[in-house]
Symmetry: C2
Subunit: 239 residues, 2 copies
DNA sequence: CTTAAAGTGTGAGCAGTGCTCTCGTTCAAG
DNA sequence: CTTGAACGAGAGCACTGCTCACACTTTAAG
């Protein structure tokens, strides 16, 4: 049974959270580069060395923020999708794509933290793998639902999916098996298209947030919508 | 007429270059975050303050490296494309895509510098715009060549390109007009597909380099090839 | 040729960083 | 009540980007 937490334990938990909150605030304003442990400690009225009792290093604190960011964007995407009718596959797809973009626009620094260049020297992907997978899993689930409903159109078979590429898709099918997501009946070409769509979605949002569309595309929203529609079509979602 | 450069001017030019070379070496090994002016100066046997005679700040030095990186990847892509027959449109397309990926794999830190999260507080895109445009211009040129040769297939018109999206594409057509690249006759749907392809290409390579495909896709080469083929098809390149 | 100005390297110094260590203090479990 | 673990404070280390006053050299103008 869980014994009642002592006062010290409660204080520790609270401070750990407060540190993260303040760190996130600084991340949003100064960026990952400008996140300073000393400044966080200063803002919280403690001395910098005390902070190390809670996070053993700056990288650990950043990792905590990364985990939160993955979960935050996933949360937003999942909620946006859940607002649509289960049978409205195209609507769910578009909602998911838009949610990713909107979360990025609202939280550019956190987006950059997880989808930009890895600032921490290659961190262990062990802990981040599961939260990071949530968004692509949403996309896959929509496709699977559509297929189960018999509404999934064939993905274009020209150019054909090579056997080697099909094997790669099989790996994904296996990887999500323990997420009550059975992709085995879904044609491989459609699943490969989801991979393309996911990287594409990420590419579009990143380009916009990182300024690569500045002076090239004026109305990013419009171009983004067109891309997501095109991708939905490619994936086999027609309605 | 250009007067002969004085000894001082030549020395300055050489040192400016040497600093950049050493900075690039450190960038490759320690990453952008770990690039230290003092370390560069130390390696060159000068005192750190002397370095400021050549680059007024760390950001300026990074900007120089960014410019070089844009030009380096563009160089590699242009050369790879030039190796193919002009009429081999699909081959040129694939060569361009592969060159981007290979440059990224060979120079991950420089890739991250230009395509990752902007580490410098939004730098002026004025100077970087032209070099940054070289790669997408290569892609556009292939499509234009293909169209001029009457070999460009229709881009899928479902879902249709919205008028607003078509207007965005028009902006691009105008923007490249002074690069002896006349895109006006090329159908807007094909050009929109190039935009999608370009962001997609970037998304794939970034995902691979930044570790987002780790544990998801085993053979990235295979998946990348499939994606580029699919994109070529989408753009209208069949052979 | 002389001289004033501009360019260049030096070293000290400032403010800031991540992180470590020691030292009392406080809390909680035995 | 005692003992050991957790904790906060403060000093300190090695490092960073950057500035400044100072000498020295090269350049160009008179």
């Amino acid at each position: 049974m869980p014994k009642a937490p002592t006062a010290r334990e409660r204080a520790r938990e609270e401070l750990t959270r407060e540190i993260k909150v303040e760190a996130r605030r600084q991340l949003a304003t100064h960026g990952a580069e400008g996140l300073s442990l000393r400044a966080v400690a200063r803002e919280l009225g403690m001395v910098s060395s005390a902070l190390y009792r809670y996070y053993p290093s700056r990288d650990e604190l950043l990792t905590a923020l990364i985990l939160d960011a993955y979960n935050a964007v996933a949360e937003q995407v999942e909620q946006a999708v859940a607002k649509r009718r289960t049978g409205d596959f195209l609507g769910r797809w578009r909602a998911a794509c838009n949610a990713v973009r909107e979360w990025g626009l609202a939280n550019p620094q956190e987006y950059a933290l997880i989808y930009g260049s890895p600032v921490v020297g290659y961190r262990a992907p062990r802990d981040t793998a599961a939260p990071a997978a949530r968004v692509p899993v949403v996309l896959l689930r929509i496709v699977q639902d559509s297929h189960q409903a018999g509404k999934l159109a064939d993905a274009p078979n020209r150019p054909a999916l090579s056997p080697a590429a099909a094997r790669q898709v099989d790996l994904i099918v296996e990887a999500v098996e323990d997420l009550d997501l059975d992709l085995r009946p879904v044609p491989r070409a459609n699943l490969a298209a989801v991979v393309i769509a996911w990287t594409q979605l990420y590419g579009m949002v990143s380009f916009e947030l990182f300024g690569h569309l500045e002076g090239v595309i004026d109305d990013k929203q419009v171009m983004f919508e067109h891309a997501t529609n095109q991708l939905a079509h490619l994936v086999g979602l027609r309605r």
